[in-house]
Chain length 429, copies 2
């Protein structure tokens, strides 16, 4: 076990620093060019879904199970078999699901946008209010925060623990402040920390007593079947059921997509909610579009067939992702274990590893990595307004590089963590 | 030549009416079931694009000309070859085009929605203004009017002549009233009248001097290459060029899609505008989505190859559509010619025939048709708020039925026109 940096003398630190700088120079000369910035599936993952492109061809029967022609207008809420597939994936009933276009982010944007312009089930449009606030468990997903920022919604940081957001704080805000209209959640294999919400957290969500009638939980189930392991898999209670039981049937919107199952950008996305909410959403959607891409819905339905097909496909993804995650985690453990200059959680699914550096070091680490040719998500990106108050959190996305590249990138990363930490500790001695 | 109904005596009208009622009863007993309500391509048209579904398969190289992987995130503004294809179709430069998802209506909705929430290139968001108005050439496209109605935008009817909207009136409103923020246009083969804007009309549009800096022309080029004939084809001046020449480079958004070229709901759509506008749009779009379906963009680009491929494909559509249009037009001419109970324009492209009945008769004709099993677009749909002040205009969509069905439907239609007109004239005698 290595000794914690904080226990070293100045002289010891200086000699560690000199050695690290030497190592950094060597690494610099390698001219790395690696990107761990975004949760992009790797090349071998994309290859898994190529057979899907043969499922629909010029000889195909293009009709749905109900006989509707997927090539023509119609079926605003999605074709039946695809609604069923997405419902099973999201753990809800088919009638609660609308299948949309290629992007669940787009549905989230539209949901916030609709609330701004038209309110929520008859409430005052949010754009007519002096103040609208969203709770943002942090660290979280930058693209969520960008949506609320874009609409001028004030964002409040809520600490994300190992079992979910700090529910004392969530209850305090939601149950007392009528300007709090929403909260962003990634309940399973959270982006970026990889944690999943406990049953107690889900039940506390469902049992909120919002001061605002138009408060909604934005439940981004982006990684609902995105396990890394066969034997240990996180399961999260169905928030729609729990809300129903708690007498809050309309309080949640669930979002999901196949972006990280079939193809990013060419998958299908869906929203699930109460029938009352779905009716309200469709009343707007019918103004916005005549319908989504039903041929692609048919392609997905026929390729995956059912939830078992989806799960089998996700096992193949897991086999490709696991070595990449483990390359990072093993390197973190081997190189940083005992140094007390950073902490991380070992995720059992999802797309990210979240690293908490010593306060004040994240920006420096990301910059040092960049100088070595290793691109990480910008420091601060996991916080609203891009501002991490401690300058500590760094999101690592291991999916895109190969396992070998990932190992090289992880080695560069830990080197930068060590160097930045030594410099930080020395500056404070 | 038949004698005009208005010149008949009451007795003559009563006997005409009795004969028509007899005919109506016979027709009723046939139990027709025909739909001319929406501009849906027919089955044989959909078959034309089936080979497109073989263009991309599991063996395909999925990279763009520039080498980007269409299966992964990226290329927010669309893949280069598809931007070029859509630009050539829209008669503009590639850099002025963003290729989006499957629906140009969705882009129009988003464009209005963005203007409501965020203004136009830095102007005050429309939702913060007391009054926002749009000019609506009538008769026009019901889904345009639904968008502006949904956002509480006041709509003002502008008569649509044979060469385009009444430009005296357009100039009077746009150049003097700063609350007028937009106008809906279908410049070529207008929905529903089929007319195309003259060069003079386009130039007068380009030379508007809007009282509102955030006034925009919503130029829905839905039928830009949708000719019915090889020899007589309407051409419309490029509004983007004309606006540029007139010193109004940012005044127009052009929309188009392949919905009626490849597959409705599974095509690609695009917006074209000045680079300044495109930058503003993309700044919002990057919040809304990571990107659109690039595999479908690749599919379209490889299938059609270039503008000549598109044009050749549209000739095949024209061959299928022409007999249906002619079935209606010939029946109208043969059965109604000389009766002075209705007027229509013979379109050279597009998807519709617009029929102007005697004032006060449209609702009755649509109802009578429905009772015979022939569904038309609801009377009034071609006007803002669904209110045709004269209750005169009826939109006929001949694309979906077969030519034989179309002939039967047209015969039912003229019968209902005659009967409703006789009743109307008698009631006023």
């Amino acid at each position: 076990m290595q000794r914690p940096y904080k226990d070293l003398t100045v002289n010891e630190l200086l000699s560690v620093k000199a050695a690290l700088e030497e190592e950094y120079k060597t690494m610099e000369s390698k001219g790395l060019n690696l990107n761990m910035a975004r949760g992009k599936p790797g090349f071998s993952q994309l290859a898994l879904s190529m057979p899907m492109l043969d499922v629909i061809n010029s000889e195909s029967d293009m009709r749905t199970v109900l006989g509707n022609d997927t090539r023509n207008y119609g079926d605003l809420d999605g074709i039946g078999e695809c609604r069923r597939l997405m419902a099973n994936m999201m753990g809800v009933e088919k009638d609660n699901v609308v299948v949309c276009g290629n992007s669940s982010l787009n549905i989230m944007y539209d949901t916030v946008s609709r609330s701004m312009s038209h309110g929520v089930n008859g409430s005052t449009p949010w754009c007519k209010l002096d103040k609208v606030k969203f709770l943002c468990p942090v660290p979280g997903y930058d693209r969520h925060f960008k949506i609320t920022e874009f609409f001028g919604i004030e964002m409040i940081n809520i600490p994300l623990h190992l079992d979910g957001p700090d529910m004392d704080l969530v209850e305090q805000y939601v149950n007392n402040d009528p300007t709090v209209k929403g909260i962003w959640c990634v309940p399973k294999y959270s982006n970026p920390t990889g944690i999943s919400y406990s049953d107690e957290v889900v039940r506390r969500f469902a049992n909120l007593k919002p001061a605002a009638e138009d408060f909604r939980i934005f439940w981004d189930d982006a990684y609902c079947i995105h396990h890394l392991y066969d034997d240990i898999q996180d399961e999260v209670l169905c928030i729609l059921d729990e809300c129903e039981k708690a007498g809050n049937p309309d309080m949640v919107y669930i979002f999901a997509s196949t972006s990280k199952i079939s193809f990013p950008g060419s998958g299908v996305s869906a929203i699930a909610s109460s029938l009352k909410n779905i009716d309200f959403i469709e009343a707007q959607m019918t103004i916005q579009t005549i319908g989504h891409d039903k041929i692609n819905q048919l392609r997905h339905s026929r390729f995956f067939k059912d939830i078992n097909g989806l799960k089998a496909h996700m096992k193949l993804h897991a086999e490709l992702l696991r070595p990449k995650f483990e390359a990072v985690l093993n390197t973190l453990e081997a190189e940083l274990g005992g140094l007390e200059i950073g902490s991380w959680v070992k995720p059992r699914g999802g797309y990210f590893i979240s690293f908490d550096a010593l306060p004040g070091c994240a920006t420096d680490i990301v910059a040092k990595c960049k100088a070595l040719g290793v691109v990480l998500t910008g420091a601060g990106a996991t916080y609203p307004y891009g501002k991490d108050p401690l300058d500590s959190n760094i999101r690592i996305a291991p999916s895109f590089p190969t396992p070998e590249e990932m190992e090289a990138a992880a080695k560069a990363f830990v080197l930068c963590v060590k160097l930045a930490s030594v410099e930080k500790i020395l500056s404070e001695k």
